[in-house]
Symmetry: C3
Subunit: 109 residues, 3 copies
């Protein structure tokens, strides 16, 4: 069975950021030469998500505001995980909303 | 590798609706003649979801009420996306809760 | 195509519980002898979830508190599903947040 696997590493300048990797994934699907298959794109960090939606500044801001409302960063003492000395407990919650992975069907170009 | 792929199109009469496609998916899995495989069912629109649960009027109403509570449609001016002239920003948020796709293992009938 | 499929059954002592099945899944992936493939782990009950994150008591407590906040168990009369005589309507909502399944890429050990 044909397959291709690739890791990407990203550094973000902001604490929480949205990175469009559509082109990278499209290129890999082409490179794989898989005519009919599936493409799994998943985050390898437990505070990161992969999701599919339009790239539009307003929409991304809406997601960001909403995530902060559903799982606020502050007060950090609100979360047990932060007793470990970290302050990212909200990120594990936000990640559940946005999802760890997407699976898409691919077809020959 | 055996595969079968099918698109379905749906029109809903209500702004937000719940459509049971279990029978259609079951039939396709049978038609595929895949004995042991996976079945991906995903929405092709970014305001739509696919999820698995019982078909029960009360439960669907509970989902619907809950989604409206977590990501209210109004006031539409609350969302940046709606500045584009659309009024469906809440739908992108609700979709994240319900999920874009499901993957199930299939086996010979 | 090589495949391996296994069902696990769990009984929990508490109404809502978190069970780490990482070792079981790892062992199955090894037993499968699939060198490059995908592993689907999904719940077969509609009030259960499968998710990936660290096993840390504080983090699990954070998830649990948060789920109860987003989809409270009480008052049970708040949910239409509970009119059927059940009292688990909140579980269907919580399950959507945590997700039904995960798909991971596997590789030879």
């Amino acid at each position: 069975m044909k397959h291709l696997r690739q890791e990407f590493w990203f550094n973000t300048s902001r604490r929480r950021d949205y990175i469009n990797i559509t082109r990278e994934v499209e290129q890999l699907v082409q490179d794989s030469n898989v005519e009919q298959g599936t493409c799994l794109v998943n985050a390898m960090h437990i505070t990161a998500s992969v999701y599919i939606n339009d790239v539009e500044a307003g929409r991304i801001q809406d997601y960001d505001d909403w995530l902060e409302q559903l799982a606020p960063h502050d007060p950090i003492s609100h979360y047990r995980h932060n007793n470990t000395g970290e302050d990212n407990a909200d990120a594990y919650l936000k990640r559940q909303i946005m999802g760890r992975e997407v699976v898409v069907a691919t077809s020959a170009f």
